[in-house]
């Protein structure tokens, strides 16, 4: 089935961002990259034609990223191992 070039590029970007989140070593950096994932999902919704969903995704993406960062910051021993290697 025909897939447009722009949608294909965006889907490729989403896959690579997801792999980067899973295999990242620093937990705080993975949270920031999750914001990029939400942004590319919003672009995909806009291209397909669902404008309401894209608007909602943009707002909820920023709020949920802030929540994740607050939750990660409130753990005392985060166990960041990459400084000891």
């Amino acid at each position: 089935m025909p897939i447009l070039l722009l949608e294909g590029l965006l889907l490729l970007a989403m896959i690579s961002i997801a792999i980067a989140i899973i295999f990242g070593k620093n937990l705080l950096a993975a949270t920031i990259i999750y914001c990029g994932f939400s942004f590319s999902a919003m672009l995909l919704y806009t291209i397909v034609g669902a404008a309401d969903v894209a608007f909602t995704e943009a707002i909820i993406g920023t709020i949920s990223t802030v929540y994740f960062i607050i939750a990660i910051k409130s753990i005392k021993n985060r166990g960041e191992h990459d400084e000891k290697k």
């Binding site: 404008a51 608007f55 909602t56 909820i60 709020i63 929540y67 939750a71």
Partner: protein
Amino acid sequence: MKKSNSNKKLAAGLIAIIILVGASALKIGSFLPVIGAQDTPANSYLSEYYISHAVEDTASHNIVTAVLADYRGFDTLFETCVLFLSGITAVMILSTKKKISHDKTIRTINDNSEHIFSSNIMDAAFRIVVPIILIYGIYVLIHGEISLGGGFQAGALLACAYLLDRIIPSFQMRVKHITDEIALITAGTGALFYVITGILPMLNGGNFLEFNKLPFGSGAGDIAGLHSTGILMIEIGVTLCVMGIIITILEVVLERTDFDD
């Protein structure tokens, strides 16, 4: 020894419950139709009816809002209830920790403080940005029937303005500090407003959430005015609920933790 034995029994029991619930869900789910099949109601005649009759039935130009708030208003009621439930769960899980009383003077910064975010530029910048976000949130709520928007987006925008003001401290308190109890009460009030909007047509001789028989409306009682009033009241209820939930989850976490940096 005793503790590890009871822990193992607890773990085994939990795994059994999970396997049981998962297997029954798979069995029940096999009765649902396949996604994308041609003979489901959603693909054969229902979508055509919604798209072609939405503007004249509900008098709103945004088909998404018309389907969400008028044709399927009952589903939106339970979505709002699920949101409210998530807020209650967050409060319930974190209620065993004690509240840490942050010093009040941290919020209002004196002239020679060493807080990270204190500066004149930030203060002036946020005085411009925060009222614009609040006005835009109310605009999105009221124009939900004509352009993009609706209840969920407006509630999230209003909560976003409060979030901005809470995390970045300023030279004086601009927004009143909302505790988590008040935010939860606001969320409940929103859901209650939604249900009252549903019960009002029943007093006038109609069904639950039937907008043709609302007792009051705008525009001398014609169909378009009644539907518009009904959709507006539903969206106000959803906005209050969403705003209350987002502020509740934020305050519940921020008041009980002590950040080390």
